[in-house]
Symmetry: C2
DNA sequence: AAATAAAATTAGTCTTGCCTAATTTTATTT
DNA sequence: AAATAAAATTAGGCAAGACTAATTTTATTT
């Protein structure tokens, strides 16, 4: 069984692995993501390597082993299931659930996740549009195209959000954007990558490139 | 905000305070309840005293301050609400919920307990028959008469259980005893305090004194 | 290739919360 | 009251997981 801290590292590595496909995962990247000191990360890399949950090679960076992947996937499963619970059953808003799920995900019990899954009706996606791993570890594919990737003129649908901080989610709320909202990318501003978009076929708004990179879309 | 460990001590002190009314709460008693070393308890007593959550006096033993009581009550509230959730919503059995709630109770969020309370329909009692503190800290009175306290011949109803270990709860299950089950105390054996009881008006069974002391009853 | 910058690592420290062993204080017997 | 037992406390340590500061390794410039 893994400690709280170990679980957080595993989840972080899993996250970085999914996000930056191809790029190697360095101690510094982990340190930045977790807000820890690189020296601490090196300690934990040693520990997780001893536990055979990761492999570390200077050339390849950090990689999850089979077991590490399994463990990380189950943490993500728990996190996303709890998010659904908090939103659908307890009436929390979009932007409030992440931090609470961050705590709930660490509660380990042989059948808890599966019972919760059943109770919630086996949801496929969490409230941020991320796929929920099944009990066997399988999950629907993540959306990978961002609003910033498409050509001007493209019509699309918000499938998920990358960033789940409340700052971002509250901003989306203000713009009336949710999972499923229809968007059109009207124009890309050369100068700084800003995007002019039309929300639900209506009003035009300009958003930053960073904004666009955090909206995952279906076409 | 209190740490996990601090919360466990507070809950323990609260528990001992409710249980052994009158008797003072000693470091040794706390150590035994938590399975810790008395030396560790002394450390924590110092810490909680500094945080003004308890007072400690050799004569009076350990006592919760006003704030300490509030904090402890809220931990108990969360624990008992989660127990209801686990049993009613996730379909766990009586004897499986305590340990999981032990983890869930430490999750802190300004509105989580209140939302859960509402979601569950504001239950008055948890699955072990213990009253659930309300948001304002008030709660129904605990049952205090045990099966071992009454005179032979008495008819009563199981109102709650004191011991919540699965060993005890599984034993009750085997005897077909639940909250609400009608019992009659038929006879007390002088020799060792054993109790002859009739369960639901039916079969006679002999149980130990310790058993009787852990069954709280209504008459 | 040498110089510089960045990243990784080592060494040593700190806090929390636990421990054991030794000692002191308090209670209980005789 | 003295002897003994039990409880409380102090002192010193340990592991986890973080930190800072110093050093070494690797990458990037010039």
């Amino acid at each position: 069984m893994n400690t709280l801290s170990e679980e957080n590292y595993l989840k972080c590595i899993y996250r970085l692995w999914q996000d930056k496909d191809g790029e190697k995962i360095t101690p510094t990247a982990i340190a930045e993501w977790l807000g820890n000191n690189p020296a601490s990360v090196v300690d934990m890399i040693r520990k997780l390597t001893e536990k055979q949950l990761i492999n570390y090679d200077k050339k390849k960076g950090v990689e999850l082993t089979g077991q590490g992947q399994k463990d990380a996937t189950m943490i993500v499963r728990r996190h996303r299931l709890w998010e659904v619970f908090l939103l659908e059953k307890l009436g929390y808003h979009w932007d409030e659930i992440h931090d609470i799920a961050e705590d709930l995900e660490h509660i380990k019990d042989a059948t808890l996740a599966d019972r919760l899954d059943k109770f919630l009706g086996f949801p496929e996606y969490d409230p941020h549009g991320d796929p929920i791993p099944k009990a066997n570890g399988k999950m629907a594919k993540r959306h990978s195209t961002t609003l910033a990737d498409v050509k001007p003129g493209t019509h699309c649908r918000v499938a998920a959000v990358k960033d789940t901080t409340s700052a971002f989610l509250q901003y989306l709320q203000k713009l009336n954007i949710n999972i499923g909202t229809k968007l059109q990318l009207v124009e890309k501003i050369q100068f700084d990558g800003s995007l002019v978009i039309s929300i639900s076929g209506g009003e035009r708004t300009t958003v930053s490139q960073k904004f666009g990179e955090n909206i995952l879309i279906d076409m």
